[in-house]
């Protein structure tokens, strides 16, 4: 009898110890400024996840150096599954465009993606070209006249540079720090073309009719612009890939990865969450950890462009 009681107590003890993850609050490190597109999207998703997981989620903004400050801070934390990194997959290759090595994705365990940002090429409505083909034709007849600015995605700018080289046209290219300055520049007539993610200020302007989308420069299509093609569909070999996702340490427990992944999928299917993003024309969707890493791999291919095209 005593032995039975003891066994029962021990088993009970184990059940109590084996409480499901999460037992503590979770911290999410966002390597960009509060209020930016990654940050505000993360906050909404985290809010819903908090309710499902029944544990507080704290957002920690660590901006700087194209995301590497926050990344370094994340790598220094304990791999216990309670610190999550929020990162766009394109940022793994950003150091390549600065002349350094890409960030090693083996250091991370992917949880899942929650937003795929398709990069769209925009022009003004008064331009003498209304489609991508017309743009190429116009650029060929007017070398050195057109000006392009990136909207914060350096890898997308390189994809565009590749297209320029392939089509042997002469377009001046520069980089802007984000969607906001790019949108201001094109609306003020200082550049003729910009790239911006869906949901960025340029896209918002396009939805209001102030800008016209010509094509997509990343590797996915958009429901709201069904006629736009990706570079791969148009016959070019490179396209950028930007997916916002959650990552854990490579050594974090699998249980944490699984739980977070399931909760993320559940939360992204909720109607209330979708409604919050509806007016920005952005559709968060669940992407599995594998799809997240596939996006990171696609980015590695774009990194080759730096060697190919130079600065």
């Amino acid at each position: 009898m005593k032995k039975l009681m003891l066994t029962c107590l021990i088993v009970l003890g184990f059940t109590v110890c084996a409480q499901a993850y999460p037992e503590q609050p979770i911290t999410m490190i966002v390597p960009y400024n509060a209020g930016g597109s990654l940050d505000s999207t993360t906050r909404i998703v985290a809010e819903f996840m908090k309710q499902e997981l029944d544990t507080p989620i704290m957002i920690n903004n660590r901006p700087g150096a194209s995301g590497t400050i926050g990344l370094d801070a994340f790598l220094k934390t304990k791999p216990d599954g309670y610190t999550v990194l929020v990162f766009p997959t394109s940022s793994f290759i950003t150091p390549v465009f600065q002349g350094r090595e890409a960030i090693d994705t083996d250091q991370f365990k992917p949880v899942g993606g929650f937003l795929k940002s398709e990069r769209i090429l925009f022009a003004r409505p008064d331009a003498p070209y209304k489609t991508f083909e017309e743009l190429i034709a116009y650029a060929r007849e007017n070398p050195g006249k057109l000006k392009f600015g990136s909207g914060g995605s350096t890898d997308t700018a390189y994809v565009f540079k590749y297209i320029i080289k392939k089509e042997t046209i002469d377009v001046n290219v520069t980089l802007f720090n984000g969607g906001a300055p790019a949108a201001a520049a094109i609306m003020g007539g200082h550049v003729d073309l910009v790239e911006g993610g869906n949901g960025s200020p340029a896209d918002v302007a396009a939805m209001a009719g102030k800008l016209v989308p010509l094509c997509i420069l990343s590797d996915g299509n958009l429901d709201k612009y069904p006629e736009l093609k990706t570079p791969l569909q148009m016959g070019y070999d490179y396209a950028s890939s930007v997916m916002f996702g959650f990552f854990l340490h490579a050594d974090a427990p699998d249980e944490a990865q699984q739980t977070l992944s399931n909760v993320l999928e559940k939360v992204l299917a909720k109607k209330e969450l979708q409604e919050k993003f509806a007016s920005r024309g952005v559709e968060p969707k669940y992407f599995s950890g594998d799809e997240l890493m596939k996006s990171a791999e696609a980015g590695k291919k774009v990194a080759e462009l730096y060697k190919l095209l130079g600065d």
Binding site: R43, T174, P181, H190, A205, A278
Partner: protein, 505 residues
Amino acid sequence: MTELLNNVAMGMNLLLQWEILFAAAGGVMVGLVMGAVPGLSDIIAICLMVPFTFYLNPVAGIAMIMGLSKGANFGGAIPAILFNIPGTPQAAITAFDGYPLSKQGKAGKALKTALYASCIADGLSDCVLFFFAAPVAMAAIMIGPTEHAAVVIFALTLISITSVSGPIIGICSTLLGLLLSCIGADPLTGAPRLAFGSAELSAGVNIVPMALGFFVVSEIIWQRCMDRRNGLSQKAIYTAQQQKDEDHSFTFAEFKQCAPAIARGTLIGSAIGALPGIGTTVGSYLTYVATKRASKHPEKFGEGALEGIAAAEAGNNACNGPNLIPLITLGIPGNLAAALILGAFTMQGLTPGPMFMEQQAPLLYAIFIVLFFSNFFTLGFGALFTKVMRKMVSVPKNYIYAAVLIFALIGTYIVNNNTFDLFFTFGFSILGVLCRKGGIPMIPLLIAYILGPSLELKIRQTMDLYANDVTIFFTKPISCTFLLLSLIITVYIIYRRSFNVKSEN
């Protein structure tokens, strides 16, 4: 006209909710306190409070963020006037005339001037936001990379040439600021520069640790050194004599004297505020310089001229309202507060953009009205707060210095949760002490440090877009105008100075 009244009526409806009034009042109060504590600035206040705003209704959330800006922009003037330690970087200019006036025992007068100038200029610039958002946005959009670079060159030239210590030293100070701003990330590509392999340096030195070290910690070190050298044994900041000479009144005649400075501050502050990426410090300093030029007694500036205080405070507070113009008319945030307000709108499912003003007119009118009335909160709380803070001058200096030092270090750490930033604060404090000792003006260095990355970025973008054709700066009309203005002012001021020197001989 009826439609305007209709929208205003609907706006006022939205306004008369306790949540919104509390959010505005709360924002102003917290902003005042955070601005007044030299370690905590408006940037930190906004970053800390922003998560709360996401869960309030949009008008309340925005009222809170803007209240923080308004409160902090005035709050920073309080320690600047009382102790020569600016609570926010932009208040450093208020200290030029505020502190000398305070040493004459007239702290109350200085504080009242700062308060009224701040609130009136802020209120007027909110009216600019309300009535002129659309045309101002149209003008602001004409400023592309080329024009922006020319405007920054103009601002830096003006700031260096008009320096009290002389144009050459002013230019040196500016150039040093530009050099220091190169540390960190390349503004175009983000590649690390002058980082010596350190991850912390590759992000650059954030303005908060820089300003805290350069102005606040260095001031404490300097005052201690001066006290020891002068053998001052007094405990409190003010001598008994000064406390007897106290004059804390602010008469209507004095107000009339300051009115032109306030008007100038409103205009310049609104223009600077509407342009993305220039900032309140520049607005404050340009107004100060313009007012000094226009004054009949420029030699009084720096010794306690009321117009100097009014100009500096009007210049920085007038930037607040117009900061929102690019955001609400085009969906483009021009500064941190606007970017966070964009985030707050997004959380509520709203999307600022070109159609925003038409689609959300009642909401925007409600926001304008709240902003305007928030200035009364600033006035009320500010008056109470300054009355309390004035008592601080009887507190023994050592306690004040110790408290300020602790807050400065906390403020440095809060920005990035990074202990390495404390080294930056110490490093810049040494630089600050050296500048004070060597008579090198500190404001040009600060402003050059703030504007440096932006200047380089715009010049490089221009070169990228125009295939390295430098003459583009002169072929584009707006850019050419500003560069010519810079040249004209430089020539004029150097001519005037050499003329003065000749006439003295």
